[in-house]
């Protein structure tokens, strides 16, 4: 009995010692953290004037700001973040980039190869925010690794590649390391300028299907008229979604070109294609648009009828045409939708 009691007491003692050691360890870490935060704050307070002179003035040489130790590097990183959050200019970006390339390359590389995904994501965000172009190679190197990263990281990596390299992104887009959804592609494509989009279009046939769809949509959103031939090519595609998106972008471009080509879609079995055709014909000349829209206003699907009525109304003398539908049509659904359009006035 006594033996059992002694063993129990021993266990309790050991547990208590363990708990206290953990407690003191945590207190020690916390104290270290507070101390380093205080030092960072002091560095920023002492040197903020010098940094202003370097980034926006003329009176400070890059060598005079050479960091001493990891705490100063952290402080400078925080200073960059706070400045970039509030201010932006080519001059600031160039000077941050020049300084970081000279003194902080190891600091960012170390964080980029951290085991913690959070640290890596933060570093990637900072590379993008501060425009650290010299980090392009380490970023590209990550993409060449076999190791699989979370999708959020890949998105950031692609974003940086788009930003810092005019051409390298195409290969990554053709063979992404992770399956990207429409929203991801949209986010990335919105970062591209027209020249980069055109570069992507050169390899249109080999692009992943989701990227094709997104790309086609972006063309409409950004009104890239030069892309009309490609959109016309997409209309012959066996992929139904691609045809619908191409028609949608053509409607966004508001062109009255190749009307005969679009007219055929007013008899399509797919109601979305008929809907987009009705939308396209709102930009066509009245005499060519009316026969198609008069046909579509009798469509079996309500959205198609409503769009046909809306397009008809926006044509020159469209109000009269719509009125004639009300007075002469034998299709009660067409009459309904035309009356509804008048009611919306």
């Amino acid at each position: 009995m006594d033996k059992l009691l002694v063993s129990l007491l021993l266990v309790i003692m050991v547990l208590l010692v363990l708990l206290f050691s953990m407690f003191f360890l945590l207190v020690f870490y916390r104290m270290e953290e507070v101390k380093s935060k205080k030092k960072i704050k002091e560095y920023i307070e002492d040197r903020k004037g010098d940094w202003y002179e370097y980034l926006l003035g003329e009176g400070m040489r890059i060598e005079d700001l050479k960091p001493n130790g990891s705490l100063e590097l952290k402080a400078i990183d925080e200073l960059f973040f706070r400045l970039s959050y509030h201010f932006t200019s080519d001059e600031i970006n160039e000077r941050i980039n020049a300084f970081a390339a000279l003194y902080m390359s190891d600091y960012y590389n170390k964080d980029l190869s951290s085991r913690s995904s959070g640290v890596r994501i933060n570093t990637l965000n900072k590379i993008s925010l501060y425009n650290l172009t010299f980090m392009l190679e380490p970023v590209s190197k990550i993409l060449r690794k076999k190791k699989v990263y979370p999708k959020a990281e890949y998105l950031l990596l692609y974003e940086i590649i788009i930003k810092f390299s005019r051409t390298d992104f195409v290969a990554h887009f053709i063979h992404p390391k992770v399956t990207l959804g429409e929203f991801d592609y949209k986010k990335l494509l919105l970062e591209l300028d027209e020249t980069q989009i055109s570069l992507l279009a050169e390899d249109f046939t080999v692009l992943p299907d989701m990227l094709k769809l997104t790309l086609i949509e972006i063309v409409g959103v950004r009104h890239y008229l030069d892309w009309l031939p490609l959109l016309h090519e997409c209309l012959d595609s066996p992929a139904q979604e691609l045809r619908i998106r191409a028609l949608k972008s053509i409607a966004e471009l508001e062109v009255a070109d190749a009307l005969k080509l679009y007219e055929g879609f007013s008899y399509s079995d797919v109601w979305e294609e008929r809907l987009m055709t009705a939308k396209i014909f709102r930009s066509a000349p009245t005499e060519e648009a009316l026969p198609v829209l008069k046909h579509l206003i009798k469509d079996s699907t309500y959205p198609v009828r409503a769009q046909a009525a809306k397009s008809m109304k926006s044509l020159k003398n469209g109000q009269q045409a719509l009125y004639s539908v009300i007075t002469t049509s034998s299709d009660e659904f067409a009459v309904d939708v035309a009356e509804e359009m008048f009611g919306k006035e």
Partner: protein, 281 residues
């Protein structure tokens, strides 16, 4: 040009002092420009009738004793507009045989005194009469130079890096005759509790929308409720870029809406533009 009540535009010289001070008060407070025209014709006392016909309804002619120049007070009028009056006076040369000397003094400087202006006016009209022609004139620009003015600048942001950068940018702005008195605050409550903003100075307030204790909009409401709210020019810095938020801010009294991150040099130009407008009107 003139109405039948033109005689109402002629006042006794004794009233000149009061009306001059009234005009001067407006110059000092609202930077309103006015012009005083001295007219002298040693050869004819009928000049007053001609002057009454040529001045505008808003101008006042002061009838000074014979031998002294007559004085026309042109409220809210600059030198360029006074030129039109001289042109009209020149048009009367065919109907008169005597010479008329004119001196035009545009007043922008709120520190100018009546005695100084009368002295300069008398001297310059005599100088004009020494020039050739039937309507010789002189433009004296002694009082065009503005007096030194102090503008208060308040920078309100939680982050000391931001306030430091903005302070340095504002300090870089140089406008002759304008002194900038800059003060930094790190929260809205501290600014409101200070009596710093309750002076008669023109005041530039550069405030962030999000602040500890009292936010930027609350600071704005406090300023706009004051009776002399128009002396505050408020720049609001924000991350909010939506149309609705911008409209809301402008409708509630923000003068300039600055979305972050912004270009510091562009901001500096905006400050300079506003200060120029404050100073030169």
């Amino acid at each position: 040009m003139k109405t039948q009540n033109s005689e109402l535009n002629m006042l006794d010289a004794s009233l000149f002092r009061q009306l001059f001070y009234w005009q001067m008060a407006n110059t000092k407070r609202f930077r309103q420009v006015f012009t005083v025209v001295f007219v002298k014709s040693p050869e004819s006392p009928e000049i007053k009738e001609i002057l009454l016909e040529q001045i505008r309804n808003s101008d006042l002619l002061f009838n000074f004793p014979t031998g002294e120049p007559d004085v026309i007070l042109m409220a809210n009028t600059g030198e360029e507009e006074a030129d039109v009056f001289i042109d009209r006076l020149r048009g009367t040369e065919t109907t008169r045989s005597y010479r008329v000397g004119v001196s035009v003094i545009e007043i922008r400087n709120g520190d100018a005194t009546l005695e100084e202006i009368l002295q300069v006016g008398n001297d310059s009209v005599n100088r004009a009469l020494q020039l050739p022609g039937n309507t010789p004139y002189v433009k004296d620009r002694t009082f065009r130079k503005l007096e030194r003015q102090c503008v208060r600048v308040s920078i309100i942001d939680e982050d000391p890096i931001v306030t430091m950068v903005i302070q340095k940018l504002v300090e870089r702005v140089y406008i002759k005759q304008l002194d900038l008195d800059i003060r930094v605050f790190h929260d809205g409550q501290y600014f409101i509790e200070s009596d710093w903003y309750q002076s008669s100075h023109t005041h530039l307030v550069i405030v962030n929308d999000i602040l500890p204790r009292k936010n930027g909009l609350e600071v704005l409401y406090t300023l706009r409720e004051l009776p002399n709210a128009q002396k505050y020019h408020v720049f609001m810095m924000t991350k909010r870029k939506s149309e609705a938020e911008m409209i809301f801010a402008y409708e509630n009294g923000v003068d300039d809406y600055i979305t972050k991150p912004f270009n510091p040099h562009l901001f500096e130009s905006q400050i300079k533009k506003v200060l120029n407008r404050i100073y030169y009107g």
